[in-house]
């Protein structure tokens, strides 16, 4: 999940222009992140014993897989194919935050990550010249992501008795810190690829709700 608009963006670029390498890369990066999320939740869904969390996590896994399909189809509709990427945002995430080893830690890192995803997709939608295919894809995904945040937040609140509210809060704080570091590092690392993004003028930003 990446994408502060680059300072050298061309504001005249058309949404009907052929997909450039950088935009193709970013959409492929989204796709790879969705795939990795799906694989992670799928493995967890397979591991957990029957419970409400297993139920919701299995749905979460299915949604993420569907999101990967949405991006694959979006790229196809834009006349191209996904770039094969071996690394995803989540890999750096786990490296920075450490492996979660209990369900509370898994829910906490998931909540922080899902909020980052929503934030990133919202930033993308706020750009000038977002292609209709991309806007449609993000809109569909965002509806699911809001549901994900809601169920994960509720699951975490239900763990306060078992793990302690203070421990849950500390864990969330730790993962938020890691998230900020990874996001900043990812932006810096892929700066060159983000120049196709076009920030809207401030007054136009304010009119989008």
């Amino acid at each position: 999940m990446i994408g502060e608009p680059g300072p050298d963006a061309d504001p005249q670029a058309s949404t009907t222009a052929p997909l450039g390498d950088d935009e193709r890369w970013v959409l492929s990066y989204y796709r790879t992140s969705e795939i990795n999320g799906s694989l992670f939740f799928g493995r967890l869904a397979r591991t957990l014993r029957p419970s409400p969390i297993q139920h919701d996590l299995t749905r979460h896994f299915a949604d993420e897989a569907l999101h990967a399909w949405y991006w694959t189809d979006c790229l196809d509709r834009l006349g191209t194919r996904p770039v094969k990427l071996s690394d995803a945002y989540q890999d750096q995430y786990l490296e920075a935050a450490g492996l979660p080893v209990n369900l509370m830690e898994i829910m906490a890192i998931t909540l922080v990550f899902e909020r980052r995803v929503i934030n990133q997709y919202a930033k993308h939608l706020a750009l000038l010249g977002v292609r209709p295919e991309v806007r449609d894809t993000i809109d569909r995904i965002m509806a699911d992501e809001r549901c994900h945040v809601a169920w994960v937040k509720e699951a975490l609140e239900g763990m306060h008795d078992k793990f302690g509210a203070a421990t849950v809060a500390e864990t969330l704080q730790r993962y938020r810190q890691a998230d900020r570091e990874v996001y900043a590092r990812t932006l810096a690392e892929h700066e060159d690829r983000l120049r196709f993004l076009h920030p809207p003028p401030d007054d136009e930003k304010g009119s989008r709700t």
Partner: protein, 80 residues
Amino acid sequence: MTIPSADQVRLAMATALGVSEKRMPADADLAELVSDSYRLVEMAIELQDDFDVILSQADLNGVTTVGDLVEVIRTRSAQD
């Protein structure tokens, strides 16, 4: 709370990882037994279910061998 024996924990770990218990001597390197880091998460979840304990990220700091993890589970069992 009954504290599981080291053999019980090693058997549970072998089952979770889908490997023979013979590959699980106390000094075996965990990193060589798990194919990727997600597998370690899955095993940790299964062990917590099996022995009704809670592990945290901090518990696994410094854990490198099968024996290290066995001791963490047994210690947690005694506490929880």
